[in-house]
Amino acid sequence: MSAQLFDLGLVLRAYEERRPQPRFSAASQQPEPELPALAVEVQRGQLSMKWISGVSDTRLRRGGPGLLARMLSEAHEDWSEPAARDEDDGAFADRLCPPILVVSDRTMLRRIEHICKRDRGLAGLLSHWWATQAELPGRGGVLVVVPTAKERFAIAEPPERRDSFDTWAEWLGFSPDRMQALADAYSVFGGFAVPTNWYRWRRMHARYAASGCWEGGGAPSNGNKVAEFYDREKAAESAEYERISDPIQAARARWEGRVIVGTVDSDLGPRSGRSFLAVRSTQPMCRFRSRSDGQLWTRDGQTSPVIIEQVTVKPDGSYLLFVSAAENRSRFLREGSEVEIRPRAPGNFQQMGGLIAKVNAPRPRVPRRTVPLDVLLAGGSGAARQGVTPSA
């Protein structure tokens, strides 16, 4: 609830000042100018397409999936016969960077996919690539303007109007022309927090190159399913970590209890040792669980990975977190000094351990105790006295 009120504070500021308010310190991320980006709309059942970055020909073109393939060939000679020019090591697919798709909203993305998915050429391949990229939060490949804008800015509009591209175009001062508005949006939101995973692209392109046509996504193998699941989770975790690393979002996360600000306390209880540390916080919420990983920050910018060993609530309502640091705590901490604990950046090992290795991890055995009959009967009669019928 407190985080919602923090968001409401942003909305009220937007209402009062009549301008969008950033939810991130870096809400606007400039795109790399050399990357090709293509704005696409569906109008009257046809694709309207325009290069908005990386290609000099910026004419507005209208047509079907065939025109998309032709535009790619015209933009770069490598696209003219990519199937015939594939190389075994995937180096060619690496060079053949698929253009970034810029669309207004998710409905438009689905309409583009609907038009292109039956195409057996480049348009089919690209639409499948774009659809897979759109599933990955924060990752490049596709810019869907409305959800990105909603994530990065607060505006004073009723919830139903926040889902409209025109509302955002008006607030952010985009051009009234739809294709130019998409170009404006790309110049504001075109930078991506998480780099693209080209492994998937190479696999899709290799399948296309092997047969000379695109047969569709097909049924993925178990290995591919695991790889895709891992990719999605990795993108989600990385995007979440990037989000919480932003100062405005970190301030918001304190109201959710996902970031803790407190002071070093002397109350270590029975624990001793130079690596243990107690942090007292008066925040209203704490989401850290015992035995979870964190990253400790001091006000002068020193940092250390820590494990939150135990979280206790004191009678005065404050939280006391016992943490063990990998390093000697006396190196950077004194009693009473202010510290911040944030979630730790996900590493590859952590993600694999969290997502895949745990699938096969042995389940803990819960010991079953034998209960004497008289105890069972006493429990049953007690329940009966309170008007509860014991189950059979």
Binding site: S2, A3, Q4, L5, F6, D7, L8, G9, L10, V11, L12, R13, Y15, E16, E17, R18, R19, P20, Q21, P22, F24, S25, A26, A27, S28, A156, E157, P158, P159, E170, W171, L172, G173, V188, P247, I248, A251, R252, W255
Partner: protein, 83 residues
């Protein structure tokens, strides 16, 4: 006559504000205009609910002040709407 117009404009603004804050204040008992005054620091909390809500509202309201300069420039692009 002029004051009638002012009253009508204020009423229209309040309706708009109510639509904007929609469900964010449900259960708090705080009305939208009061939330705006609390967030902007023009009013001090009086009830227990207001005391609990004031801190996150104010922190959210002032959060963009620390945002980078590029964002302020970006926001200026949309000044046409403000004008």
């Amino acid at each position: 006559m002029a004051s009638k117009h002012v009253v009508a404009a204020e009423r229209s603004l309040m309706t708009e504000l109510e639509a904007v804050v929609a469900d964010a204040l449900v259960g708090t008992g705080i009305d939208p205009a009061r939330a705006l005054a609390l967030a902007a620091g023009r009013a001090e909390p009086e009830t227990r609910a207001e005391q609990l809500a004031a801190a996150p509202l104010r922190e959210g309201y002032s959060a963009p002040d620390g945002a980078s300069r590029s964002l302020i420039e970006l926001a200026e692009v949309s000044e046409g709407r403000a004008a």
